[in-house]
């Protein structure tokens, strides 16, 4: 178990695509340290031969046929769907800033 420092936090923020303000960092660091410290109690438990529980269900490999769903066949624009939701829209296409 390791503690978390300012550099770790900045790296995590980078991975999480979250910009952190200097003022947020100190509080977050303190909160995360306390929370991670609380987790140390788990080390008391011997889990050597315990199968991990990997989800909420025992179902395995649930598959189904692809089915055509409901479509907007009125031909009218459907404001809640697709391009209507785009924050920026150019001629029905999604507009994004340059990648590089």
């Amino acid at each position: 178990m390791a503690d978390i420092n300012k550099k770790d936090l900045e790296h995590l923020a980078e991975l999480s695509r979250i910009e952190l303000k200097e003022s947020e960092e100190a509080k977050l660091l303190k909160d995360l340290e306390e929370i991670l410290n609380y987790f140390k109690e788990l080390q008391e438990l011997d889990t050597e031969n315990v199968e991990p529980m990997t989800g909420g269900t025992d179902n395995k490999n649930v598959v189904r046929e692809d089915m055509p769903g409901k479509t907007d066949d009125t031909g009218k624009a459907y404001p809640a769907r697709g391009p209507g939701q785009f924050p920026e829209n150019k001629g029905g296409y999604l507009k994004v800033p340059p990648v590089f």
Binding site: A2, L12, L45, N59, R64, R81, Q85, P87
Partner: protein, 479 residues
Amino acid sequence: MAHLHDLTIKKFHEGLLKKDFSALEITQATYDWIEKRDSEIGAYLSLNKDFAIKQAEAADIKIAKNEKVTKLTGIPIALKDNILVEGLPATAGSKILKDYTASYDSTVSKRLKDAGAVILGKTNLDEFAMGSSGENSGFKITKNPKDLERVPGGSSSGSTAAVADHMAVAALGSDTGGSIRQPAAFCGVVGLKPTYGSVSRHGLIALASSLDQIGPLTKTVEDAAILFNEIRGKDDLDATSADVDYSLEDLLNPKLENIKKLKIGIPEEYFIEGLDKGVSAEVERVINDIKSLGLEIKKIRLPHTKYALSCYYIIMPAEASSNLERFDGIRYGTRHKAGSLLDLYRKNREAGFGAEPKRRILLGNFVLSSGYYDAYYSKAQKVRQLIKRDFDEAFKEVDVIATPVTPTRAFKIGEKSADPLEMYLSDIFTIPVNLAGLPALSIPVKKRTGLPVGFQLIGRRFREADILGIGQFYEKLYN
């Protein structure tokens, strides 16, 4: 016309059939009441007036034409704002989805619409269902209708407050670690967290996919059974939904002779230091009431209970950090101006997420990162198995487990908001149920003194009928 305060799903249905009132009258009266009260409570984020009126009129026409109706026909219902209703806003309480309109119906809203229910509007919640107090919404705080200085609990704060204050006859919430049961206990209403897999999660904005369940918030246990029965069932659009043959007779018309045969377990790990003495005394009284119905009470052990909070606060943020990756302001939601694509992601997520989602995303990515995965995430998955096994063992001896819902009554607004760990501890009795995937019911203690207190009944998987049955007979003791 009936008084809104007296209306339950059952009474509404009976009144509608007897033509004591129309669905339209009740819908309009409910909106009038919302207008009067909600500026103070803050239960709703958006109202659906035009369409709700049409739904109410459709219900009245069905009654007038003597057409077949369901138990939900015309019932005014509120939905937590992380449940999609086509064409209505769905913010999940987050600024990042401020401008989002749902493009499809969740399975539960489709079922409600098909059953003829009237969807009044969307209710406030702690952002992305992360919180236990109703103070974490990106838009406003919800207050406890029983005491406006106190929190209603969370994260289904608005749905619970709406039902508690008669701004809806019933509501749907979602429960990942207690988000239906804890506010229900704080506001004095009934809340059911169904078995994992019994209600489709399709169209629920995901927090932690292996823990989330949608469930009812109602004024009576009987109503919770009715509403649960309408929304449950196998759904091809949710791969974790289960095909279970529920007995309608057991679920909707429980018999005391069957309920009496159930054995109740009382786990000593739930009656610990930190449990408020007043709450403990109220729960003891309920246990005696249940005993008086003829059920056998037995002490049991759930030895890994104390590790549930740590286990949960590793698994839930891990899943949340993955589920919240999609909110980047690219395809929908609110977008901030930025130079490059990378800056756009950072800027949108910085401005769009509040403190709690940020904390949980960072924590989730930490426990999943290389070097820490085994010590945290993998360890937590194994501990989750131990917690589930505790319940498996207990259910060999008893049929239902009775516990408090929360360690204390509703706390004051602002009391715990500075200390996340202190806030997390308020879910200590509800979290194990989600980890194990079990059904659990939060019922208000009757004839209590002071603010509401809840008691929790935990059942075997897919045995909602047992906990709802005991709950219904408990309520009958006080009718």
